[in-house]
Amino acid sequence: MAALPPSSVATPVVPLAAPRPSADREWVTLLRRLVRRRTALFGMLVVLGVMLAAVLAPVVSPFDPLEQDIGQRLREPGWQDAQGRLHPLGTDHLGRDILARIVFGSRIALVVGLAAVAISGVLGMLIGLVAGYFGGRVDDFLMRLADIQLAFPFILLAIAVIGVLGPSLQNIIIVIGVSSWVVYARVVRGEVLSIREREYVQAAIALGSQHWRVLRHHVLPNTLTPWLVVATLDMARVIVIESALSFLGLGVQPPTPTWGGMLADGRVYLSTAWWLATFPGLAILITVLGINLFGDGLRDTLDPRLKV
């Protein structure tokens, strides 16, 4: 029998009581289990690959993503220019290298993804903790807020707000971050509802611990596992939304390369140059697929009961 699950609710006392050094071993166990699932391993490798591409973009990219060369516009994938430089995915309508733009585009996708998930994750965590722990009227009020948030077609609300505020990296992150908290809040609340009734929480309250202390030391650590799974899967959704906003012209503005913006450019040249729209879309598809598979693997390893 392998070690106990790292921090499932069924064994809530373990992670808290465990001395710190064992935390390393938990991560190793988790990683080993993840790697054993082939789809999760594939997802993890894709995510790592995209992250590396984003961080090392200036090193790995063969061209400057903004370098225009009108003489070399709309060249097919595999085109070699006069200096013998290869454009593996061809060039766009301004003669820019498509591979370079895809590599640099991953930066916007990941920055928006990480930042928006951080905002909505923290917000949702707080709301979920408060709603689940205090219950009653507070819970009712916060859950109605969640219903209101869910009632809006997300993309329509996002474009309306960004249309008013103006498109910028900061506004996009804030709008997506602030309006994506519901899924975190619901999952965390669900966990808190059961954690609240545990003996160790009751004991802490009986000993006179204040609410914020109970929440921080006894409740919050036990909600982190499901929260992490939700955050991973939500990252994929955020990346799609960012590219949808860019596609509509409400994302980070040109000439900064974004996957959605490249797709929008490519749409115009669909009948003459198929590669313009095809490759950025594939980049989104592979990234999102990778994150989803990784997230599914994480869920199955950490907390198979979780329905997200």
């Binding site: 109605r144 807020l145 219903d147 209101i148 869910l150 009632a151 809006f152 077609p153 997300f154 993309i155 329509l156 609300l157 474009i159 309306a160 707000v161 249309g163 008013v164 505020l165 994929a236 799609v240 590219s243 949808a244 596609f247 509509l248 012209g249 409400l250 959605g260 797709l263 490519g266 749409r267 669909l270 009948s271 198929w274 729209a277 095809t278 950025p280 879309g281 989104i284 598809l285 592979i286 999102v288 697929l289 989803n292 598979l293």
Partner: protein
């Protein structure tokens, strides 16, 4: 039963009230709706005059009360571009959006439920693998890219189907597939996991043990019990479909609410944007209320809550 429905109705009204607050504040996000509504070349004097005329100087509560009074009557002001009532413009486009969302949902349900059931019954066979891979790809594929690729293949290359506009059934095929694929993928995975769970229950074993045939076990005993999460997700997916219509309609030049909203945002025609957001959000709330009514039929235990 009745108290449950009354409670849900009351909750829905509260949600609609909240929706109206959000829609009201969209216009006030920048702090100066007058400057937002007038063309960029308007003078400061024009803006000041307009602000007084529209009552933007009043306290927010007064402004919101006025807005809500209009909203309950469907009056969101006149479109700044067309000079007609904004809600009228949106309502005009609503049938096209419903047609598209309905077609997308129909595709999703007719493909996803059988695929999910077969996947669960023939678990770990090649059928299951194919359907799982397709579902995973469908969930990862951005709508706008799928739409463009469908246009590339079926309109540009093969010249089989039109790439834009509305009218015949042929116009509907590509946009409906584009809009429906994500939902298809979601429902397939959900049906599969729901059926797997139900098929492992004791009452299924009992049914088999007393000699019920395999096909009634799957389609009658199991499916009805697995259908509860499916009905829930259909309600929620309707939100995805209505929201997705914004992108799909833009790609295929489909004359619905989504495309109208995107155009209105670029034209700074905010009364139209507010009407569209309010109408689509209300539709979602009402459909989910209906879903809850259907629930009480599928799962009688809910009535006694």
């Amino acid at each position: 039963m009745r108290s449950y429905l009354l409670r849900r109705l009351w909750q829905s009204l509260l949600v609609l009230f909240g929706v109206s607050v959000v829609v009201f504040f969209i216009l006030h996000l920048t702090g100066d709706p007058a400057a937002l509504l007038l063309p960029p070349d308007a003078t400061a004097e024009d803006i000041a005059k307009f602000r007084t005329a529209m009552g933007f100087d009043d306290p927010w509560v007064v402004q919101y009360a006025r807005f809500l009074k209009g909203a309950v009557r469907g009056d969101f002001g006149e479109s700044l571009r067309h000079g007609e009532p904004a809600m009228g413009l949106v309502l005009e486009r609503l049938p096209a959006t419903f047609e598209l969302a309905g077609a997308g949902l129909l595709i999703a349900l007719t493909l996803a439920i059988p695929a999910g059931i077969v996947s669960a019954v023939r678990r770990n066979t090649s059928v299951d693998y194919v359907s799982t891979v397709v579902a995973l790809l469908g969930q990862a594929m951005p709508t706008f890219w799928l739409g463009i690729m469908l246009i590339l293949v079926f309109s540009v290359r093969l010249n089989w189907l039109p790439s834009s506009g509305r009218g015949s059934l042929e116009h509907l095929i590509l946009p409906a597939i584009t809009l429906g694929l994500f939902t298809t993928a979601r429902i397939t995975r959900l049906t599969r996991s729901g059926m797997l769970e139900v098929l492992g229950q004791d009452y299924i074993r009992t049914a088999r043990a007393k000699g019920v045939g395999e096909s009634p076990v799957v389609w009658k005993h199991a499916l009805k019990n697995a259908s509860i999460p499916i009905v829930t997700i259909v309600g929620i997916e309707l939100g995805t479909l209505l929201g997705g219509s914004v992108i799909t309609e833009t790609i295929f030049a489909w004359p619905g609410v989504g495309r109208l909203s995107v155009q209105a945002i670029f034209n700074r025609d905010y009364p139209v944007v507010q009407s569209a957001v309010f109408l689509l959000a209300s539709t979602f709330v009402i459909v989910n209320l209906l879903v809850d009514v259907i629930y009480t039929y599928l799962d009688p235990r809910i009535r006694y809550r």
